[in-house]
Amino acid sequence: MKGQRRIVTHVGLILFGIVMVYPLIWLLSSSFKSTLEILSSNSLWPHVFSAEGFAKGWRGEGRPGFGLFVVNSMLLTVPTVLLTVISGVLVGYGFSRFEFPFRKPLFGLMIGTILLPNTVLLIPRYLIFRNIGAIDSYFPFWITAAAGVPFFIFMFAQFFRGIPRSLDESAYMDGCGSFRILVSILVPLLQPAIFSAAIFQFIWTWSDFFQPLIYISSVSKFPVALGLRLSIDSMGIPPWNQIAAMSLVSMLPPIIIFFTAQKYFVEGIVTTGLKG
């Protein structure tokens, strides 16, 4: 009986898995087809293997090549991730290891801002950045990251809680300053959290569309998300194979990170999600 149920479960899971992942596989196969074949054939295997989608999509005819967009995304994302981690560690350290007045209410306030919908702050933030001339640059992204992203501050604070204070205390006895303790003792122990935060922030920032749409207007500064949209905007019939190929390219960094760092994904979510 149990064996039978097990087989049924497996079959169900496999079928469901196929349905779930089919769109992604189809995207993969479309990027190797010609546009005509994408619109006419249902098969996953291209009749004629064609790299035209990649070649033309990458070169970009009548608009900038996709390589520019990838570089831009890197310029946008990498500093954002670095600043997120640094500020997250610093602020998380401050909240978890020190007992200053108003610590509890401030911490509560910070967590409350996680629930604050971004949309509410959107327009004034945009106007603030516009008034300081920071529109059409990556500055708004960097500065917001440098101020600390509450979700990650929370994550780091939780991780700090799991590290025994005795480590700090013995270091203080030895005469170390708080910063030294942070950098030489605690940060090495924070590695899993740092990886998780970096991974999540990288993927979220890389895939972000709304914020770049609002802040970035020059085509030459478009990150991948805006560059992709440019490709479905051209006149005449959309070159679906190019679009599919470049969509795939844009999804590669998150996919690669996902497959190489899987355990950090789960660990990261679990830490923030469960405790408290």
Partner: protein, 295 residues
């Protein structure tokens, strides 16, 4: 601790980036949104005070406002429960001792790592457009598929599907929570002869309510702010059938240059989300159980 008294003020230094950022990028904008919502603020001219005119327009004159609210509410009410249901169901199935659970988990989780990305929206367009893959596959079975995107009766459903397809992140959380349920509870229940449904209702469900709570709130807040899918796949159409609230806001702020009105819209969204969140919080004593060892 007293000997370390002065030292603790250093903590303020460490959190100073957040404090500064909070004041400049959160508090001030938050207050500004309220202030701007009482003004007429077009991009080329400075803001002009107009009292409650924007709110009057919102509630009495603008037909897109109620339409967008309606569309967004349906979207949230359909996609969030479905998403959570799938997440919980699949998590429970995967919680058994199965071979290859890691692979299944990966496959189900994969779609959700991209979040609201343009690539996925483009993919959805390719799949569901009139002559896209979905209709061509239906044609194999001699079914004439509708315009999934171009028909106002189906478009919202299709967009919701994209959201539900990404149930993986919620699922992983449920899985982690399920794993925390101690085995001995299940064994004791089984020894007592409890059926599967009874076990679920009395053991499993109560113990994962914290995760359900978290997921419900986060997913709802995110769903209310969905933008990319509606923007890229259907541009809010046809006939505003997918005109999610974030699109209404975007159009008014960045395409019609009515920053004052858009601020009023943003403020209203905040109020709605606040109400929904506090509703969930208020209802929690009735269904939220914490494990005793925590807190």
């Amino acid at each position: 601790m007293k000997t370390l008294g002065r030292h603790h003020y250093v903590g303020l230094l460490y959190i100073s980036p957040w404090v500064i950022g909070f004041i400049a990028l959160t508090l001030i904008p938050f207050i500004s949104t309220i202030a701007f919502s009482f003004t007429d603020y077009s991009v080329l001219r400075p803001p002009r005070f107009v009292g409650i005119k924007n709110f009057v327009t919102m509630f009495a004159e603008d037909d897109l406002f109620p339409k967008s609210l309606e569309v967004t509410s349906i979207y949230v009410l359909v996609s969030v429960p479905l998403k959570l249901a799938f997440a919980l169901l699949v998590a429970m199935i995967l919680n058994q001792k199965l071979r290859g659970i890691g692979t299944y988990r990966t496959i189900y989780y994969l779609p959700s790592i991209f979040g609201g990305s343009v690539a996925l929206s483009i993919l959805w367009r390719m799949l569901f457009m009139g002559n896209g893959l979905v209709n061509r596959m239906l044609a194999i079975f001699s079914i004439q598929g509708p315009e999934w995107l171009g028909d106002a009766r189906f478009s919202l459903l299709t967009i919701s599907l994209l959201q539900v397809w990404q149930f993986g992140s919620a699922m992983v959380l449920f899985l982690a929570g399920l794993k925390q349920v101690p085995d001995f509870l299940y064994e004791a229940a089984r020894i007592d002869g409890a059926g599967r449904f009874r076990i679920f209702m009395t053991i499993t469900f109560p113990l994962i309510t914290p995760i359900l709570f978290f997921n419900l709130i986060m997913q709802t807040i995110n769903a209310f702010q969905t933008f990319t899918a509606a923007f890229v796949v259907t541009s809010g159409g046809p006939l505003h059938s997918t005109y999610l609230y974030a699109l209404l806001l975007y159009d008014n702020a960045f395409r019609y240059f009515k920053m004052g009105y858009a601020s009023a819209l943003a403020w209203f969204l905040f109020v709605v989300l606040l109400a929904v969140t506090s509703l969930v919080f208020r209802s929690s004593p009735y269904w939220l159980h914490y494990m005793e060892s925590e807190h």
